[in-house]
């Protein structure tokens, strides 16, 4: 399929419209998880293997799980979904219609029209490997450089996480 990356980005926007139209947060969390999966496949399609894996593990497996059970603590008895009530449904339909019209407009551009956005000489990205040691290249080398060139940044981020945990404990303690 030629335009797989563009199709996935359209699905990403539709997923984002799904939780931005503000249904009950449990359905919003579901839409965010689906958008996260689509976004991870976009990242994988552009050769970012390590970043896609990290997004799955840290983002979907960590933060969404925390969101899931926090939402389960603070939810009402009859959560409103996308079909119940006109506000959420209207927002969803307006967003989807906007995306469909945008897609049709982008697809109708041809090479004679010089616009900022066009399909004229793109398609999907191709990752060139080049010569050199071809076994551990790619995204992993950038993440490994975090611990080499970015030593101090790792220390600061780790300390920020510790202080964040302390802040959370102090907030939840209440009195």
């Amino acid at each position: 399929m030629a335009y797989i990356l563009f199709t996935l980005s359209v699905l990403l926007v539709m997923g984002f419209v799904g939780f931005s139209s503000k249904p009950s947060p449990i359905y919003g969390g579901l839409a965010l998880i689906i958008s996260g999966v689509v976004g991870c496949v976009i990242v994988l399609n552009c050769g970012g293997v390590y970043m896609g894996l990290m997004m799955f593990l840290v983002y979907l497996g960590g933060m969404m799980v925390v969101f899931g059970y926090t939402t389960a603590m603070a939810i009402e008895e009859y959560p409103e979904t996308w079909g119940s009530g006109l506000e959420v449904l209207g927002g969803l339909l307006v967003g989807l219609m906007m995306e469909v019209m945008l897609v049709l407009w982008v697809l109708s551009l041809d090479e004679a029209v010089v616009v900022v956005v066009g399909f004229s000489d793109t398609g999907d990205w191709v990752i060139f490997e080049g010569e050199g040691s071809g076994l551990i290249r790619g995204d992993s080398i950038g993440a490994g450089a975090l611990y080499d060139y970015g030593r101090w940044l790792v220390v600061v981020a780790g300390w920020t996480l510790f202080v964040g945990v302390y802040v959370v404990i102090e907030i939840v303690r209440g009195n």
Partner: protein, 98 residues
């Protein structure tokens, strides 16, 4: 700018609009904040992959770290609100009467 970048920037804008509008729940705005962070992560990773500059992958990783901290603090505030008022409805937050 390819259409994929345009769609990802559009996803960021839609999440931003969703975060700025309140309906009844507070945690829905936190979800839209998470969506903003995710779209920024995707865009930074795509830029680092397509300009063949793998050192720039440091930025989305650190962005994810600080987004996780922010999520934790936001959810802690949500839990303390939920402990005080029972639910996280936005119209309960009326101590500042102005």
């Amino acid at each position: 700018m390819t259409p994929t970048y345009m769609n990802i920037m559009l996803a960021f804008t839609i999440s931003l609009l969703g975060m700025l509008t309140y309906r009844s729940h507070l945690v829905a705005s936190l979800l839209c904040l998470e969506g903003m962070m995710m779209s920024l992560f995707i865009m930074a990773t795509l830029t680092a992959s397509n300009t063949h500059f793998p050192l720039a992958n440091i930025m989305p990783i650190i962005l994810l770290v600080f987004a996780a901290c922010e999520t934790a603090v936001g959810l802690a505030l949500l839990i303390s609100i939920s402990n005080t008022y029972g639910l996280d409805y936005v119209h309960n937050l009326n101590l500042l009467q102005c």
